[in-house]
């Protein structure tokens, strides 16, 4: 765990260096597409109020100068499956984004959806050393959280303090400088599979890039698709991807739970491809053009021509009604939503004060999805588009870019994580301290 902290600290330093240079790329490695945005940081926004949020929800300090997305290859379920293919996809996206930006980028912040994220809520409690709570106390209380057994070959992706409590006063955002005796914290830890991260690191390294940060795409799409109130009062963001469906629950502006369902739009496409025997690309096409989840009487009469080039006249000129297509799509969507509902129930989403659910991601563009989701997940449903950021091309403003844009926001304002605080002193190995004392005694 300490090693991974060191790695995360190193990534934070690289991110700082990238900010200093002013240019950083964000890369969303998805199952359907690889999106790359290049951000230029112009320094702090001078027009912002000193204590307010400022223009563009505080995001005015960066500008997107290059954007490109390419069809993803070598990625399954949000994890890198074929190294060379994935590397080519990353290279393609990065090269065209660099071409648009006319600038070379060396630092990249990556998000991905796979690698089986698991959420853990940890608590820690310490006595406050001084009268008022200092930064050192916060580091101590974070270090005092008891780490559960994560399992073999898993690493921590996010470890965010979500709540502080000081002597029965809970819900503190920033306890520093407050007076009390016992400081307690709730820490949200997200772990992922180690091999997936290692593959990703290797692919990035093969593209001559330096990794300046890692994030879970479920988390970052929640950052961009949820509005401030929803994040404050409690909301879930469902990110319909191609390979996976990400779930993240926010409360009091912090992510408190994240998970993924390993089902997505690709499964719908392969269902269509198998159901009306058509090629995969054609199935994807009719899914996006005619797909839906609620069939009406008109849909029985709306015929979709299925052309192919096998040479068999009968086979090449089939038609299928839209109702049939919906009949293929709907069960799979229901399955995904039920799976999501189970995960939300397991996470205790029904206990939250507000149960807003926001659908985003490429799959959320399916017609009538919100109606179906209302039946399965609950009454408060909306389809969320990502926040608008400066310089973003029109083509990249859809819900399928919400995780890429959320990653931009995350890059500009990263959430405080466990490794952002100094390691408390007693955590250092005692032997090295003793050695240091001995050195001082011998030499002075």
């Amino acid at each position: 765990m300490k090693d991974f902290c060191a790695a995360q600290r190193a990534m934070r330093n690289i991110r700082k260096a990238a900010m200093q240079r002013g240019v950083v790329a964000v890369l969303d490695i998805g199952t359907w597409k690889v999106a790359c945005l290049i951000l230029r940081f112009d320094g702090p926004d001078l027009s912002a109020e000193p204590d307010g949020i400022g223009a563009m929800a505080g995001q005015a300090q960066f500008r997107v100068i290059g954007a490109a997305s390419t069809c993803s290859r070598g990625v399954r379920f949000g994890e890198i499956d074929g190294m060379a293919e994935a590397e080519r996809a990353i290279r393609t996206a990065l090269q065209s984004a660099q071409k648009m930006a006319q600038q070379r980028v060396d630092h990249v912040i990556v998000c991905f959806s796979g690698a089986e994220p698991r959420s853990y809520g940890l608590t820690g409690e310490v006595e406050v050393s001084d009268e008022a709570v200092s930064e050192q106390d916060i580091a101590c209380v974070l270090a005092a959280c008891e780490m559960p057994e994560f399992g073999e070959a898993r690493e921590i992706l996010h470890a965010q303090p979500v709540n502080f409590a000081l002597d029965h006063r809970s819900g503190l955002i920033d306890p520093r400088g407050q007076i009390g005796n016992r400081l307690a914290t709730d820490l949200h830890v997200l772990t992922i599979e180690q091999t997936a991260v290692q593959n990703l690191l290797y692919a990035i390294k093969r593209c001559d890039l330096e990794l300046a940060g890692l994030a879970s795409s479920a988390y970052v799409s929640g950052v961009s698709a949820l509005v401030e109130d929803e994040r404050e009062l409690g909301a879930a963001c469902i990110d319909f991807g191609a390979g996976t469906t990400g779930i993240s629950i926010f409360l009091k502006k912090h992510m408190i739970y994240a998970d993924t369902v390993r089902l997505g739009g690709d499964h719908i496409t392969s269902d269509i491809s198998k159901g009306l025997p058509v090629p995969h690309a054609f199935a994807e096409r009719i899914k996006t053009m005619y797909g839906g989840v609620v069939a009406t009487g008109v849909d029985d009469r709306e015929m979709i021509e299925i052309t192919s080039e096998t040479g068999d006249w009968e086979h090449d000129r089939r038609t299928v009604s839209r109702a049939e297509l919906i009949g293929i799509i709907r069960p799979r969507v229901e399955e995904i939503l039920e799976e999501v509902r189970d995960r939300l129930l397991a996470a205790g989403f029904d206990q939250l004060p507000s149960q807003q659910i926001v659908l985003t991601g490429g799959g959320s563009q399916l017609q009538g999805l919100d109606g179906l989701a209302t039946r399965i997940l609950g009454p408060q449903i909306r389809v969320g588009r990502p926040l608008r950021v400066r310089g973003l091309p029109q083509a990249a403003t859809g819900p399928d870019f919400s995780s890429a844009i959320g990653l931009c926001l995350h890059a500009a304002h990263p959430q405080d994580e466990w490794w952002d605080f100094e390691m408390p002193l007693e955590r250092y190995p005692a032997r090295s301290l003793k050695r240091a004392f001995r050195w001082v005694k011998d030499n002075w």
């Binding site: 080519r88 393609t92 090269q95 660099q98």
Partner: protein
């Protein structure tokens, strides 16, 4: 049955890979690097020029060839009619001086203006006695123009062998044949007179009252002046402050018409004791007068 549609070749059906090769990717990143741009713009031309120069310099025959070509080109440009100088024009000089300048100038026209060493030519002309100042320039139309300021003669200096014109600073202007040609100029005589010309000119100014009788100023022993008047009369002037002494003599002469009398010389060399030297007839007359006076007293 024949296929109704024209089939594409399989190689064309297979879509080309949109991904850049690793080399293309790296090259693009390199081309977007600012330092690489700087290198292309400054470093590469510099290296190319230096390399070409070093390569040429390393081969003697090539170097000689390049040098010969450069010389040819230089000669070709210098021989162009635009740079040819055809004639010399002298301004501000008397005809004799113009002839002298033409004789003394070591230039054979026509000549390229690149071959003219104007400083050296100017030095040659400035060495002429009658030239006070000269400026040389090549004017449009292939004319070498020399603007000369001539020395104006102020005195005639008679030496043992020759008559020489001097200007106000004592510089030689020209030798002359006869005094008559410059009768209006005063005459100075004696070795060393050339070195004291300013003083002589001041003396001549003071000697205006006797200008009609003035013959010459004579330098004695290269240290003091004598004013020589007609009838061999002389005013002997001291070495120090001769102008004041002459002014005193002129004052005495103006009051008592001393020089109109039968006096051989007025010696002003000792300031506190000016002395008169009388001619023999005057001495006789003086003695006679004294004798008469003595006789009368004796009687």
């Amino acid at each position: 049955m024949r296929a109704l549609r024209k089939r594409l070749a399989p190689s064309k059906i297979a879509r080309s890979d949109p991904a850049p090769s690793r080399l293309a990717y790296r090259l693009q990143r390199l081309s977007l690097t600012p330092s690489f741009h700087r290198f292309l713009r400054l470093g590469l031309p510099l290296i190319a020029v230096l390399g070409a120069t070093a390569w040429l310099g390393s081969k003697p025959e090539l170097r000689a060839e390049v040098q010969a070509r450069a010389m040819d080109l230089q000669a070709y440009v210098q021989q162009r009619p635009e740079f040819t100088v055809h004639m010399l024009a002298v301004e501000g000089a008397s005809p004799e001086l113009i002839n002298d300048v033409r004789e003394v100038l070591p230039v054979a026209f026509p000549i390229s203006s690149f071959d003219l060493d104007l400083d050296a030519l100017r030095a040659v002309i400035a060495e002429l006695d009658a030239v006070a100042d000269v400026s040389l320039r090549v004017q449009a139309g292939g004319v070498l123009e020399a603007s000369i300021v001539e020395r104006t003669p102020a005195l005639v200096w008679q030496t043992r062998t020759a008559l020489i014109l001097l200007d106000a600073e004592g510089h030689r202007v020209a030798p002359i044949e006869a005094r008559a040609a410059h009768a209006q100029l005063p005459l100075v005589v004696g070795p060393g007179a050339k070195d004291a010309v300013p003083e002589a000119l001041r003396l001549l100014q003071v000697a205006q009252p006797v200008a009609g009788r003035l013959v010459a100023l004579q330098r004695i022993g290269e240290r003091r002046w004598d004013v020589v008047l007609t009838d061999g009369q002389r005013i002997l002037l001291p070495e120090d402050a001769p102008v004041r002494a002459l002014a005193r003599a002129m004052a005495v002469d103006g009051a008592q018409e001393l020089l109109a009398r039968d006096v051989a010389a007025l010696d002003m060399r000792l300031t506190e004791r000016p002395t008169l030297r009388l001619r023999p007839a005057a001495v006789e007359a003086l003695w006679t007068m004294r004798k008469v006076t003595l006789d009368e007293e004796a009687r």
